[in-house]
Symmetry: C2
């Protein structure tokens, strides 16, 4: 059965649905019932999200009044985009697809459905008595953005469960959007992209070409100054340059990655290679010049935006959690379309160093931003306190703009979907964690303690009689990797043969600590080094340094790196610098006292109380 | 005549007024009629401000409707603080004290006066039908801030001209503020400090102790969380910690420096050495750890705030022009109180590298922010276009938040007041530019081409019969300086003797290009050097580099620095780095091709069309 055939049937339901399901492309996604996470790094985080974060989210959606906004009597609370948090929560519940959550899911769907106008319009912030009229503020109103998340929730429900009330609500909403913004309608777009991938995905679910055409229309309109100018400039919402003409991702990082995701969806479905090339080129430029070592994106606090090329100062890194989600959405789509390992490389980096970094161990607090350098210890906000969005020091329970908890929840719920793909020739493994994969024809068990250890064993438990190819990604950092003892280069390592059940293939990745140097054009980290170990970025925290003056620590790059109790140890010096009245003058000298410097995984930072932290550590010049 | 005696008399009118006139302190300010700028660096800028900027400002105040807000029929336009721009413009006119401007001045005063309520309240944004009630938004409403600028304008008028209508308006406003916020009244403060120095200055003009007491009350109240919390935290408006307990300047940089200025005023007038020590300590910490090489302050765009210690990335430097004005206000008050050269050092640095950088040559465009690193060439906004505040690339004619044009205008109008002081023992010269100084007892001519040249000749043209001390500041950067051929150290060089008219003293400052290295804790400029020449910070602009890849230029710190046609030339390399797919990895190597690197004064940047620019240039490691 081809993808085209399953698209509009219940086939995806049988397979458990999947976060993005293109009808064409180099690789085919697997369903959430085809990939099962087993105990390990990611299963633990998915479990915490399922067991704790979902409750936590519903508690706050209720408490903040954002859920109550759907009930007509309520006085509206929250920001203009708060409806979207309910939809992202519904999307998370849909991917989780857990009978124990079904009543909760249906109860919210009923409230959402009841709030929908007869013509399909649905937004708690516009069009009611005393509110601004519908579509009176496309720049900031987020109406189409909210519709996008509603439709994505409907898509998730349709793929994971089948057509029901939420899917009907989503379709009515999509029809309304096409009526109002289609040919002859309002010739504009939404200030925050999201409707674009949502409509393309709804096309994939329903087969109704109208949604794809509308998504394409939104993609093509943007960039022609159809929105009003704003303080941050139109690049903020990517309305500065048509997407086919842009050089690089720019503006608000979540908007940019969502839009690019929708553009890939449209390009793939319409066979528009020019558009796909354009987005792939923008992605490559953004990764080469505008991305943090963690995979995080967004250097500017004021407009939550990509900075210019090389503007990657760690102490002002914004690296919004949701931009990490958007980056994964985009890279996943490019991976499915083109089958190139670099997309999976960035997904891995972002998963381990942004997505894993944001939630607290209990899944009830989150980083909104993911700074690479924390200069002052933070104060942990009380568990019952809503905090502003930009706090970077300690994880907070909820935010005035609280997009990351629900975005993480939907990502964790669908996480199994990003591990592997299939094509006509076999199975491809892109991310490594203990898992069982069963596509029907082929079943494998992946055994690994990754990323703590670099050995990945793939045991075939069912295989066709004919030869097929097992493809394993060798990450870009993994020089010296071997596959069944034979050297393999970064990229994709392939084993093509007839497999029999029970036999194994073993990939050994050189997971050991290494020093990483930055491109000399990244001004913010000149003269610094970072420590990485496999896909995991490490960091230095003040809680590990005792009385050592954190601001004066520097690493000796010729020092060996050693593993010790989960930390990486390296030698260096500290304490050479003292305050003067003016911090600029003659050439400084002295290197201070020798110190042993322990670094821990970045994703674990600020879990031991307030501390200062840095990913990039100054290096002794030699 | 002592300062106390002249304070409330017309003596200041005879002397032309002066921007801050403490009744006590180590040094006494001179009046604007006692110091006359002669042709040179600063007179040219003052003349452009007088001849072009004042017209430009009034044009825009009218066009934007901010002046019209004072007329009852008008529909209010502009931000909540727009009244203050009219007051700062009036202050500039008052210091200019030019009969040719008198009609214009009186016409605006009449409109302002007519808008004042009988009880002294005056704000075009509150309290009228359809507007929010008075003092209903102390955090953001800026009512007391606007009163502060109104009172400062009144103080300027009283000192430079004598008591008239504007002074009466200011006094009525001040009385109203004391009535409403005095003991038993509203126990709070304004989200933006400014009323504090204004009331203290009005006390100095009128001798009415009530204003000083009210200023003190505002100073003491703040820091006890009397304002509501906001997204940026209460440190934004310095309501986090009482001023006596704070370690360093923090939060919004303009608010911080205005508040500290008011605190110095109160401390000096009340003899509160503890308060003066506290502010002096906070200033010293801010200068040692939170100030750019240019003297600019404020590292954060989002809240226009000081960053944390060492957070001084050049590519995100905000360095608001108005924070430069506030920094000069503060350092000048500390200088008068304590007589220490370091305060004059920072004023000099800020004047040459912030105040001189902001206005265009024609005085009709301005930088709102003064970045130290511009990564992409800007687009010059049309001459008739109001732009958002944060543009850093090219000077703009007017801003939605347009505080800098009027702040510069009042600073230029009062500039002569910052050059010199007197004490019972003689005359002190703090800033060098060609000028005539005549305090009655003592008259001198200062001849110099500073900062192009380091020779300053002070010719005494009138002197008392008795010995007195001529004091000349030797800037902190000026190692190797000589006074009449004898070596003098940075700080104050003093010549005490009986002078006869016609004799001269010559100070030779070593104004030649030098390399400056940063404190190793300033992460954003690690591995970089800057070029300075005398008090002037230099920068590298892409327009001077032809085809050389700007992002890869680095300086060889062992290369000699040479002057050539107003530029400083240094040798270096460029072009070593090429793009990879991922900008982090192994140690980079190669230094590229040899290039000759010309740097120009930072204050002249972006005057030759769009360019990229950097103050800190990477250095070859050796």
């Amino acid at each position: 059965m081809t993808i085209e055939e399953v698209m509009v049937t219940g086939e995806w339901v049988r397979r458990g649905g999947t976060p993005a399901a293109p009808s064409k492309g180099r690789l085919r996604p697997l369903g959430l019932k085809e990939v099962t996470l087993r105990p390990g790094f990611w299963q633990q985080r998915q479990r915490i999200s399922r067991e704790n974060s979902l409750d936590h989210i519903e508690h706050w959606l209720t408490r903040a009044g954002w859920l109550g906004n759907f009930d007509q009597a309520a006085v509206r609370q929250g920001r203009e985009f708060s409806d979207s948090e309910i939809y992202k929560y519904l999307e998370a519940l849909a991917w989780a697809n857990d009978p124990a959550l079904e009543d909760r899911f249906q109860a919210i769907v009923a409230r959402v459905s009841a709030a929908q106008d007869p013509d399909g319009y649905l937004n708690t912030n516009f069009g009611r008595p005393g509110q601004a009229p519908r579509y009176s503020d496309l720049e900031w109103g987020h109406e189409l953005y909210c519709f996008g998340h509603l439709i994505q929730a409907g898509v998730a429900r349709a793929r994971a469960h089948g057509r029901d009330e939420l899917v009907e609500v989503a379709i009515r909403a999509a029809d309304h959007v096409c009526d109002v913004f289609g040919p002859g309608g309002i010739e504009s777009v939404c200030g925050h992209a999201e409707i674009e991938p949502a409509l393309a995905e709804l096309y994939r679910v329903t087969g109704d070409r109208r949604y794809l055409d509308q998504a394409r229309l939104f993609i093509e309109r943007r960039g022609h100054q159809v929105l009003g100018d704003i303080e941050f400039g139109r690049s903020y919402f990517q309305d500065d340059v048509p997407i086919r003409d842009a050089r690089v991702l720019r503006g608000h990082a979540v908007r940019a990655t969502y839009l690019a995701s929708g553009a890939v969806d449209v390009a793939v479905e319409t066979g528009d290679e020019e558009l796909l090339d354009a987005v792939a080129g923008q992605w490559a430029e953004a990764v080469a010049r505008r991305t943090y070592l963690t995979g995080g994106m967004g250097s500017r606090h004021q407009d939550e935006a990509f900075g210019e090329d090389w503007m990657l100062s760690p102490d002002r890194s914004y690296s919004e959690t949701c931009a990490g989600v958007g980056s994964i959405m985009l890279a996943w789509r490019l991976l499915l379309a083109r089958g190139e390992a670099r997309y999976a490389d960035l997904i891995e980096r972002t998963l381990f160093n942004v997505i894993a970094a944001s939630p607290a161990d209990d899944g009830r607090r989150f980083f909104y931003t993911n700074t690479l350098h924390q200069r002052v210890p933070g104060h942990e906000p009380p568990a019952d306190q809503l905090v502003p969005r930009a706090a970077s020091s300690l994880r907070a329970p909820w935010f005035a703009v609280s997009c990351c908890p629900t975005n993480l929840a939907r990502t964790f719920a669908g996480l199994a979907g990003y591990l592997a793909t299939a094509d006509d020739d076999g199975l491809q493994l892109h991310q490594y964690t203990a898992a069982s994969i069963d596509t029907g024809d082929i079943a494998v068990e992946v055994d690994t303690d990754y990323p703590a250890d670099g050995r990945i064993t793939v045991r075939v438990t069912r295989a066709p009689e004919t030869p097929w190819t097992l493809t394993l990604r060798v990450p870009h950092w993994a020089g010296g990797a071997t596959l069944d003892g034979e050297p393999v280069a970064p990229g994709y390592a392939r084993v093509r043969r007839r497999f029999t059940a029970g036999e194994s293939v073993t990939l050994d990745l050189a997971v050991r600590p290494r020093l990483t140097f930055p491109d000399p054009r990244i001004d913010g980290v000149r003269g610094c080094v970072a420590v990485e170990r496999g896909p995991v970025v490490y960091c230095l925290e003040s809680v590990d340094l005792g009385d050592v003056d954190f601001d004066t620590v520097h690493i000796d790059p010729s020092s060996p790196l050693t593993d010790r109790d989960g930390a990486v140890i390296v030698n260096g010096h500290a304490g050479a610098t003292a305050d003067g009245a003016w911090p600029y003058g003659g050439r400084p000298d002295g290197e201070g006292a020798a110190v042993e410097i322990p670094l821990h995984p970045y994703h674990r930072w600020a879990r031991r109380g307030p501390s200062t932290m840095r990913v990039w550590v100054p290096a002794t010049t030699d």
